[in-house]
C-alpha cells in the first residue's frame, strides 16, 4: 500500500499532465539557465512531455522513496539518455540536473492548489515529491558524470596507443620516441609494441629515445632495462638515446647501472651508430629518393 503522501502527486500527474507540461515549459523557457544555443525548443518540449508521461506510469505503481526498482526502469533509462545527449550537446552537469529540478516549481504549485487548506497533507506531499525529484536529479547527475568518465577512459586508451609509435628509421633500424610519464601500464604497451615491431620487421637495432621523458627514476630505469633485455632475447640490440646532462647525473646518483646498454645523448648520435653497426648502404635509400 503506497503511503498517503504521494496520492495527490499521482492524481496531479494523471489528471493535469497537460497543464503541468505547459507551466513547466514556460518556466524552463523563461529561466536564465535556458540554453537555447544548445538545444531547440521542440526537443526540450518533447523531452519534458516524455518525462512527465513516464513519471505518471512509474508513480502509479512504484514507490516514491526508491527509484531503483523495476517500476522506475523506464524513467531511469530515459534520464540516462537525456544526460548522455546533453553531455554531448555541451550542457554542464548542473544544467542537466536543473532540467529535473525545474519540475519542482510547477508541480509544487499544482499540489498547493489541490491541497491548499490542509497544511499537514501539503507538507507531507511536498516532502515526498521533493525527495523524489531530488533522487531523480541526482541520478541524472550521476549518469552525466558516468558518461564523461567513459569518454575520459576511452581517450586515455587511445592516447596510450597513440603515444607509443614505433617507427622504422632505416632497414633493420627501429626507433621508439618516448614522451611523457612512463607508468607501469604504459610501459607495458610500449614494450609490447616494440617487440611486435621487431618481429614484423626483423630489425636488429632498436633506438629508445627518452628525450621526452622528464623524469627517469628507478622504476623508469627498471622498465627500460627490462625492455632492453626482452629485445635482446629476440635478437635485437637496443640503444637508449636522449640522455640529457641532468638525467645522466641523476642516474649516477641513483646508482642505476646502465653500463650494459649503449646510451647516447641524442637520437642523431644513436642513429649514426646504428647505421654503422648495420653496415647500412646509404646509397641505396638516397638513390631511391632522387
Amino acid at each position: 500500500m503506497p503511503s498517503a503522501a504521494g496520492q495527490t502527486l499521482r492524481k496531479v500527474l494523471a489528471q493535469s499532465q497537460k497543464e503541468l507540461l505547459g507551466d513547466w515549459l514556460q518556466g524552463q523557457l523563461a529561466a536564465s539557465t535556458l540554453r537555447s544555443d544548445l538545444m531547440k525548443e521542440n526537443e526540450l518540449r518533447e523531452q519534458s512531455r516524455e518525462l512527465l508521461a513516464l513519471l505518471q506510469t512509474a508513480t502509479q505503481n512504484g514507490s516514491l522513496e526508491r527509484i531503483d526498482g523495476t517500476d522506475w526502469t523506464a524513467v531511469r533509462e530515459f534520464l540516462a539518455r537525456v544526460s548522455r545527449s546533453r553531455a554531448q550537446q555541451g550542457f554542464s552537469s548542473s544544467d542537466t540536473a536543473t532540467f529535473v529540478f525545474s519540475l519542482k516549481e510547477p508541480l509544487f504549485a499544482r499540489l498547493r492548489a489541490d491541497l491548499g487548506n490542509d497544511a499537514q497533507a501539503l507538507a507531507d506531499e511536498l516532502w515526498a515529491t521533493g525527495y523524489l525529484l531530488d533522487r531523480l536529479g541526482l541520478y541524472t547527475t550521476e549518469m552525466y558524470v558516468k558518461g564523461r568518465e567513459e569518454v575520459i577512459s576511452r581517450q586515455q586508451r587511445e592516447m596510450m596507443e597513440l603515444s607509443t609509435p614505433v617507427v622504422q628509421l632505416w632497414e633493420n633500424i627501429l626507433a621508439l620516441p618516448l614522451i611523457g610519464t612512463l607508468d607501469s601500464e604504459r610501459t607495458q604497451v610500449v614494450m609490447e609494441s616494440l617487440l611486435q615491431k621487431i618481429v614484423e620487421t626483423g630489425a636488429s637495432i632498436a633506438i629508445i629515445d627518452i628525450t621526452g621523458v622528464p623524469t627517469v627514476d628507478t622504476l623508469v630505469a627498471q622498465h627500460l632495462l627490462k625492455t632492453v633485455a626482452a629485445a635482446r632475447l629476440m635478437g635485437a640490440d637496443c640503444i637508449i638515446s636522449g640522455i640529457r646532462p641532468q638525467i645522466a647525473q641523476t642516474i649516477v646518483h641513483l646508482g642505476v647501472n646502465l653500463s650494459d646498454v649503449t646510451t647516447k645523448a641524442s637520437l642523431a648520435d644513436a642513429f649514426s651508430i646504428a647505421l654503422k653497426r648495420t653496415d647500412a648502404n646509404l646509397s641505396r635509400y638516397s638513390g631511391a629518393a632522387t
Binding site: 610519464t181 607508468d183 607501469s184 601500464e185 622528464p214 623524469t215 627517469v216 627514476d217 628507478t218 622504476l219 630505469a221 627498471q222 646532462p245 641532468q246 638525467i247 647525473q249 641523476t250 646518483h253 641513483l254 646508482g255 642505476v256
Partner: protein, 134 residues
C-alpha cells in the same frame, strides 16, 4: 627558517605520484633551481612518493618552500600509516628491496638530496623527509 609556502598533497594512486612530481618541479622552479637541481629533487620525490604508495599503502606529502638566506630550498615530508620499516639500515642499502624494484629508491633519493631523514615504527607508519637547496 622562513617558510615561503606550504601545501599538502595526497598520495593515493599512480596519478598522485605524477602530481607530486609536478608540484615538486614547480616548487623547484619557483626557488630558482637549475635544471640539474630540479631533476634531482623531482627524481628523489618520485622515488619516495612511490614507496609511500607501494609499501606504505598511500599517505601524503607536505611540500614546503623555505628560505634561510643565503639558501633557498624545497623540503618534502612524506608520511604514511603503513606497516613501517623494521630494519632501516637494511632498507637504505643499495640493491635491497622487499618488493620487485631495483632496490635503489631510498638510497638513491638520499644521494639526490641535501637533507634526508627517515623515521619509522613497525605497525605505525613511516615518515621520510628530503630537502634540497641552492
Amino acid at each position: 627558517m622562513a617558510v615561503v609556502h606550504r601545501s599538502v598533497l595526497p598520495i593515493r594512486s599512480q596519478e598522485d605520484i605524477v602530481r607530486v612530481r609536478k608540484a615538486t618541479r614547480e616548487s623547484a622552479v619557483v626557488q630558482g633551481f637549475s635544471l640539474v637541481e630540479q631533476t634531482k629533487i623531482v627524481t628523489a620525490a618520485s622515488e619516495i612518493a612511490r614507496n609511500t604508495l607501494d609499501y606504505g599503502g598511500g599517505g601524503e606529502v607536505e611540500v614546503t618552500l623555505f628560505s634561510e638566506p643565503p639558501r633557498r630550498g624545497v623540503r618534502l615530508v612524506f608520511s604514511d600509516k603503513g606497516p613501517g620499516i623494521a630494519d632501516i639500515e637494511q632498507a637504505l642499502k643499495d640493491g635491497f628491496t622487499s618488493g620487485s624494484g631495483l632496490g635503489l629508491g631510498l638510497s638513491g633519493a638520499k644521494r639526490l638530496s641535501n637533507e634526508f631523514s627517515l623515521q619509522s615504527k613497525v605497525g605505525e607508519g613511516t615518515q621520510v623527509t628530503i630537502a634540497r637547496w641552492r
